[in-house]
């Protein structure tokens, strides 16, 4: 049962420190962590370099640990708290901010990424849980030369207004086309039902995905 009301701030204490923006601070922190133990110790929580711990032990809240995530085909190290979500690890830890944070509770699909090829709400998954799995984000779709066909179709169909829902829709659409090739309109609607567009661009989104399916020629 969902309750209403404001969610508490899950941002680790180390990221709330005043004086600099959260993101610039984090960039500093991850660079420091890569620099070695001395640099790591300089981060607020005192990051410990370990492999993905199977038992986190009793790490105090706010203390960071480094884990390895395989994102868009590349192994990346990122400092997280025990309870950090995959979404926060991607956005705040790895600066992959294409994945959007809207509801933070599984209801909107803006945070959709592919985990081992399956569309997944990254806000509902612990970063720890994503260790050893193949994660694909919106940043991983385009090649240097070209956008992914679904991205290209979104551009051509002008399938967005504010664009906040777009990365999630694109990821769900990519998964849907991977699974169904040329989905029927009903199948497409079913597969995209976990994504919400507050601007109501659904018509264009469905048209873009159908078009991309046709072009991919699957």
């Amino acid at each position: 049962m969902q309750t209403d009301g404001p969610a508490p701030d899950r941002t680790p204490a180390s990221r709330r420190s005043g004086g600099f923006s959260r993101r610039s601070f984090l960039k500093g922190a991850s660079i420091a962590a890569v620099g070695g133990p001395a640099g790591a110790a300089a981060t607020a929580g005192g990051a410990i370099l370990t492999d993905a711990p199977r038992d986190t032990g009793t790490i105090p809240a706010g203390q960071l640990r480094e884990i390895a995530l395989r994102v868009n085909g590349v192994e990346r190290r990122v400092a997280v708290e025990t309870r950090t979500t995959l979404l926060d690890a991607l956005r705040d830890g790895l600066d992959l901010t294409g994945t959007k944070k809207v509801c933070d509770r599984g209801a909107c699909g803006a945070c959709t990424v592919l985990v081992d090829g399956q569309p997944t709400n990254s806000c509902l998954m612990l970063a720890h849980d994503a260790v050893g799995r193949e994660i694909t984000t919106i940043e991983g779709l385009a090649s240097d030369a070209a956008l992914h066909p679904v991205q290209q179709a979104f551009v051509e169909h002008d399938a967005l207004q504010c664009g906040f829902c777009t990365p999630g829709f694109v990821m769900s659409a990519v998964a849907c086309l991977g699974k169904h090739g040329k989905p029927s309109p009903a199948t497409l609607r079913h597969e995209l039902a976990g994504n919400i567009c507050r601007c109501g661009t659904y018509g264009r989104i469905f048209a873009a995905v159908q078009d991309a399916a046709g072009r991919a020629g699957r």
């Binding site: 309750t3 709400n121 998964a175 079913h190 039902a193």
Partner: protein
């Protein structure tokens, strides 16, 4: 919050030896992560069983069909065995959240939360399922109705894991139906949900299990209606039997998703429609 990522059933059970009432098992996380985000729970220990192979898998067993607790909704709706023996589960799984949720949400998690509005729980009631529990010290099996003990409350001890669910074999000529009423097709928690299984022989009802969700503090059986189907309908017919059962067996409330009045009215209507459509009633 200590997180232990178990890689085997034994590891998970060993980790749960230290569990307290505040500890939580983590499967797909589609309930637990929301509770964590909302600050509604702060567990001392989280045992992540998402990668425990023994909790996966659907296979025939002597007393029916075994569904590992870690079976996801996506797996339920693509399983030929589930479609053949427990089709209502596949139908209900398709209505849990949407693709992203179905890919993670497990049947064990649906039971573990025991939300009164859960979609799979009433189906397990209607199918007469058994819940297999295991701890480091032993194992036991409970009928699903004894497993759910109250509002989001279950008979599970903190050191126990839901290992799996056994759905008994499908009786001949059993008619089944599932109906969920929500604000929209996908991604909405039920305003009310009904699952039923009725066996009939030559127009005579020989077994009936009718369950409803989101109309009381927990999933309930509509026993008054079941009895009326066995013993003969009252003079007012099906509508009266349904009304009597809704009054006696449910206790709906007003909440964010609906009102008590809506729930009673629509529950009665859904039941009359489902039962009238069954050939034998």
């Amino acid at each position: 919050m200590r997180v232990i990522s178990a890689r085997s059933l034994d590891e998970a059970l060993a980790a749960l030896r230290d569990a307290t009432a505040a500890s939580r098992v983590l499967a797909g996380g589609t309930d637990l992560m929301v509770e964590l985000a909302a600050g509604r729970t702060s567990p001392d220990l989280v045992v992540d069983v998402g990668a425990v192979p023994e909790l996966r898998g659907i296979r025939p067993v002597d007393d029916g069909l075994w569904l590992g607790a870690g079976t996801t909704c996506t797996e339920l709706l693509h399983s030929a065995a589930v479609t053949a023996h427990a089709d209502l589960l596949a139908i209900a799984a398709r209505e849990v959240g949407a693709a992203q949720i179905q890919n993670r949400a497990t049947i064990g998690g649906n039971l573990g939360t025991a939300s009164p509005a859960a979609d799979l729980v009433p189906v397990l009631f209607a199918l007469g399922a058994q819940v297999a529990l295991r701890s480091a010290t032993g194992a036991r099996v409970l009928p699903v109705e004894d497993f759910v003990t109250g509002y989001r409350a279950t008979a599970r001890r903190p050191d126990e894991l839901i290992e799996g669910i056994v759905v008994p074999p499908r009786p001949a000529r059993e008619l089944r139906a599932f109906r969920k009423v929500g604000t929209r097709r996908a991604q909405s928690i039920a305003k009310l949900v009904v699952a039923l299984a009725i066996a009939a022989d030559g127009g005579v009802v020989t077994a009936a299990r009718i369950a409803a969700g989101a109309v009381a503090d927990r999933t309930v059986r509509l026993t008054t209606l079941e009895r009326a189907l066995f013993e003969g309908l009252p003079p007012g017919g099906l509508a009266d039997a349904v009304a009597a059962s809704v009054a006696a067996d449910t206790a709906p409330c007003d909440d964010v998703r609906s009102t008590a009045r809506y729930r009673s009215t629509v529950l009665a209507r859904v039941l009359v429609r489902l039962l009238a459509a069954l050939p034998s009633c």
